[in-house]
Amino acid sequence: MPIVAALLSVAGLAGVAVVAPILTARRVAWATPVVYGASFVLAAVLLICGLLALLGGSAFQGTVHLPVGLPWIGAHFALDPLSAAFLVIVDFGAVVASFYAIGYGAHEEEPGRVLPFYPAFLAGMNLVVLSADAFSFLVAWEFMSLSSWALVMAHHHDEENRRAGYVYLLMASFGTLMLLLGFGLLAGPDGDYAFSAIRTAEHVPWLSGLVLVLMLLGAGSKAGLVPLHVWLPLAHPAAPSHVSALMSGVMTKVAVYGFIRVVFDLAGEPAWWWAVLVLILGAGSAVLGVLHAVLQRDLKRLLAYSTVENIGIVFIGLGLGLAFKTNGMAGAAALAVTASIFHAFNHSLFKSLLFFGAGNVLTGTGERDIEKLGGLVHRMPETAYLFLGGCLAISALPPLNGFVSEWLILQAILLSPDLPQWALRFLVPASGAMLALAAALAAACFVRAFGITFLSRPRSPAAETAHEVSRWQIRAMYALLAVCLIAGIFPGPFLDALSPVSQMLVAGAMPKQPILPHLSIIPISESRSSYSGFLVFFFIMMASWAAIRVIHNFASRAVRRAPPWDCGFPDASPVTQYTANSFAQPIRRVFGPIAFRAKISQTMPQPGDMAPARLTLSLRDLIWEFIYAPIEGAVLYAAERLNILQFLTIRSYLSLVFAALVLLLVLVATWA
């Protein structure tokens, strides 16, 4: 039974986490390869379990009830199509990240702060996906949050990282609290918290609506939905790069899993306004996330903001799924949900790839600031090649995988004029426009990220003396790029594999993808739309090959090297190049006034005055200002007011306790 093997592997990961501190405390030289190697093997077993359960049908699925945890409940674990699909996403990321870390971890200064928590983090994420009752789910969730928090704090000497850890801890606690309340509302009549009991219980519609809101707050904050994303661009970059890849690529997917599990599977029939909420948050996250990303100069923070964007795209798909499900359009709902989960999978691939690339840059140069990089394509050719592949995939360009899932979501949007609710009819095309805008901005963002980091001339000595990194790191990235390409060229089997999931969630499935003709995928029917990644890839390869052959054979293949032309005025200094900031300036100028209230003010000195002219740019983070700053202010204010409670006499304390007791007793008396 895969579920048993999966649980044993999780226990194994926990065991590794226990052994790791002993190894690091004794400063064993091989601690790093052993811990990551063991994580690699165990995650591979989990991956196989997930694949078996997803592809093998019900024979490989199952439930386990362990007599641990709370005495009258125990712990339920289950492997159904949904958890199997996410088990695959989690553990593919984990396998590759562990492999990468064998090379990357060798540069870790304090391995004792990373090695114990890494397998614990993996175990936590797997347990969330496997657990089948509210208690195990919440415990696993909190375990995942805390172990990842420890990893964020690995480089705690940096002031910025400590702040990131603090904000992350606050937001994670808030999120878990919301989940706790949400599951509390879902419980069956006799307090049965197993998912199977919740699923069959009668749900009051308005309570289910409240559960949705709580889930959006709880799971959405972990996934990074705007406006709950504030911790994400701080915490993800602070961790070591392979952990950043896991947090951005995989942990956000665990949050998506939690949302899907509750909202599609447990909370009963959706109401149409659920879709409105999810669509608005998704579309907002997509556009705001990428607008932030395009302005960042820290490579890892840029990637973290782009995660916010992609989570937004996933939630647009889920919102569409809810809209179709509530109106009984099973086929369309299946398309939207499948596209959404496929995008989650794709994002886990290319985001890990890009974070690994950023990790390589960090290893090779010691820099994360792209304004100080440049020209790495010469010194780190393989990293550059792999990072370019990730950039192409995340910018939704054919024939890679990012395009396929976004294309499927666009196809789902085209089905929505049949929705009866007017609010949805207006909202869905708007979110389609937002999605297209986000995709185009993502392309700009990654042209900038790749162009400034890897192309042009080195902007600092660190970039000039960069060196290529270990083979482990490079090979892990090749594996990811290969899967990106395969998922882009042959998406059909991936979509077929997800059909039991959509069957389970929305009681419908996409049409079975034909192997022939042309290896194309068909979202609804052949006359509506089809796309063959394989043919597109094949044609591009053939066309470029033909062009090269013809020109080299029949015309010239001579090459001469010369100084750059630059209209006759080349300047040798690298500061004359376009910088990351100047590249983003036009976009900031067009979108900044709306999104960030961007203001540019100039002070020109009077003629004769020797003071320099100054140009100041102010960008405001409106979400922080309007949501978080007031809360922060209110908490501070309340704390200061309550301060007097610390300096009371013993009599006042006793009377306070007495008053509280009386109040509670009165409450209990009136309640019962």
Binding site: G374, V377, A384, L397, F403, W407, L410, L414, S416, P417, F426, P429, A433, A436, L437, A439, A440, A443, A444, V447, R448, G451, L455, S456, R457, H518, S520, E526, S527, R528, S529, S530, Y531, S532, V536, F539, I540, A543, S544, A547, I551, A555, S556, R560, R561, A562, P563, P564, W565, D566, C567, D571, P574, T576, Q577, S582, F583, A584, I587, R589
Partner: protein, 317 residues
């Protein structure tokens, strides 16, 4: 036999777009010159230019990377594939099912991605300025294009261009949404092809240039391939507008040789008319400041969005 014939016709389309693209550029230049009362170069001049360029040695900057050398071929290949997938003289070609209009838009996006990267490779100020502005325009032109695709797809019930073309022939009625989409598509086409109100294809050494700034460091065969790709893109957009909004004369899937011939002749006629109208518009209007362009292209986005919204309100618009 049928399969071989189908592949053959698809091959003819691929060769035909490639062969006609420089001619279209030559034709527009000639018309423009005549409108300005100049004699202008011959229509076949672009062919001669391309031949001259491919025969020359390529001069590469000292620090040009592998990306710089390979990008022209990838740009060319993606554009060519996109152009081959747009129905030109016949609908329902054998490989037209490989990609729909959204995929064609994204293919052009791939070409732009590589072009913008190539512009940044050497690390000159001009290359950076061109790439940065190209990506800015794309951030609005691409969603505008997707919205126009939505409008067309909601009317025709398919994003597949062949189906759209056949639908438009069979159910040709005047619709508000299609009118909006047409205007939007023209704006997008002008932007994407770096034509006059947005960019000036005829100048170098102008601070406002976009496309030419990116390819400033290219020479010889690399430049030739990029120029050819640019010509293909212009042909693609005119064919696209013709295919959606004036598909008459296009051969059907089961039409014989005669139908195909009629299709080719009408298609060439449409290209000529489209090129002529574009040049007429160009000579009548001045180039915009760079930061006016987002408003211009944003207009296309709004038009496309409005068209889509109208169709979400009622399918009869």
């Amino acid at each position: 036999m049928g399969l071989i014939l189908a592949i053959l016709i698809q091959g003819i389309q691929m060769v035909l777009v490639l062969a006609l693209a420089p001619g279209l550029i030559g034709f527009t230049r000639k018309v423009k010159a005549r409108l300005l009362r100049r004699q202008g170069p011959s229509v076949v001049q672009p062919y001669r230019d391309l031949l001259r360029l491919v025969r020359k040695e390529a001069v590469l900057a000292d620090n040009a990377s592998w990306l710089f050398r390979n990008a022209p071929y990838l740009i060319f290949a993606t554009t060519w594939v996109a152009a081959a997938l747009v129905p030109t003289f016949a609908a329902g070609l054998h490989f037209s099912w490989a990609a729909d209009l959204i995929a064609i838009t994204a293919l052009l996006g791939s070409a732009r991605f590589f072009l913008a990267l190539a512009g940044m490779d050497i690390g000159t100020a001009f290359g950076g300025i061109g790439s940065s502005r190209e990506m800015l325009f794309a951030t609005l032109a691409e969603p505008a294009m997707i919205m126009i695709v939505f409008t067309v797809a909601l009317v025709a019930g398919s994003t597949q261009l062949s189906t759209v073309a056949e639908f438009m022939v069979d159910h040709s009625t005047l619709r508000v949404s299609l009118g909006l989409a047409l205007i939007g598509l023209i704006i997008v086409a002008l932007t994407e092809n770096a034509r006059v109100p947005v960019d000036n294809p005829a100048t170098h050494l102008e601070l406002t240039m976009v496309h030419e700034a990116m390819i400033l460091e290219y020479s010889g065969r690399h430049l030739a391939v990029i120029e050819l790709a640019a010509a293909l893109k212009l042909l693609l957009y005119i064919s696209l507008i013709a295919c959606i909004f004036a598909p008459w004369g296009m051969a059907r899937q089961d039409d014989g040789v005669l139908g195909m011939l009629v299709g080719v002749v009408t298609w060439v006629g449409k290209l000529a008319i489209g090129g002529f109208l574009m040049v007429l518009f160009e000579t009548a209007i001045a180039k915009m400041r760079v930061f006016r362009v987002p408003e211009f292209v944003g207009g296309a986005l709004m038009l496309g969005f409005l068209g889509t919204l109208l169709l979400f309100v009622s399918r009869s618009f």
